[in-house]
């Protein structure tokens, strides 16, 4: 198992916020595959082109897994003071085929878009930035990978795991 973890966000890059997600994701991968080689790249600024290029760079070495962290919501499109969320748009641009789930609040704003796809031998996913949601999404993804699940099932399981982190999320997704 070789994996790349790509944190995104100016606040992570500048050290304003500690990157707690990447170590947690790395811990989970190593727990699942003790012989794993996991690379955490330098955090990426919130620009679609920068994120896209980093995905391409990581994919060049044909890893088993690429995980992007953060930037999965509507962000700046609803609040000018929030960060710019471009991770999902960069992923959609990169992947030829993918499965995606978008979770909206009842006010019509997108809270999170999770994208899961495969290109060559590499599974490419994103997880939300909030720690509990990132942790849950990753657990669901790894469980799916270990059981041999396909992209569609992994995508669905990740969305279910994130949905359950909202107070309303006790009910299962259809």
């Amino acid at each position: 198992m070789r994996a790349f973890i790509l944190p995104t966000g100016n606040e992570i890059l500048e050290g304003i916020v500690l990157d707690l997600d990447a170590p947690e994701l790395m811990r989970q991968i190593v727990a699942a595959w003790p012989d794993a080689e996991v690379t955490r790249v330098c955090p990426i600024v919130d620009e679609e082109d920068s994120i896209f290029r980093k995905i391409c760079d990581a994919a060049e070495t044909d890893p088993d897994l690429i995980v992007l962290i953060g930037g999965s919501g509507g962000g700046h499109r609803f609040s000018s003071t929030l960060g710019k969320d471009y991770t999902h748009t960069a992923l959609v641009r990169y992947l030829d085929e993918y499965s995606a789930r978008e979770i909206y609040g009842k006010n019509g704003h997108m809270w999170s878009k999770l994208v899961c796809g495969r290109k060559g031998n590499t599974l490419v996913i994103n997880v939300p930035g909030p720690f509990e949601e990132a942790k849950a999404a990753m657990q669901a993804c790894l469980k799916g990978m270990l059981s041999g699940a396909g992209v569609e099932d992994i995508s669905k399981a990740m969305a279910q795991a994130v949905f359950e982190k909202y107070p309303t999320g006790a009910a299962s997704l259809a």
């Binding site: 500690l18 085929e97 995606a100 609040g105 009842k106 006010n107």
Partner: protein, 120 residues
Amino acid sequence: MAEEYIIAYADKSVLKISGLSVKGMSTTQVEKVLQDKLQTIVRVIGVTGESIEMDVYNADPEKIRRNADGVIDALALAEGITVSDLTKVSCSDKIVPVEWKDIPDKPVSDCLRERWIKRG
């Protein structure tokens, strides 16, 4: 492959604390401190060097506004955060379900599908 759209019917407000100095903040610690204070689920959704924005679920916004000093005192205990006399708390009203008549029939931003759009 599938593209699914899911609606989360959760009550939330956005709590913003500005006039801070933030460096090396732990989001999990801040969430825990404020969850203990407000007795509800809190998620950090945006941070700059001067402010923190959070989703607060199932809370009374007016109660939070009245307890602003207590919120700031609690936050001051978290690592990586320095409060000052300029620190202030603002809390939006709870989100409300969008009405059909208010749903736009074309994208309102440069990114499609990040807000409901009428179809057909």
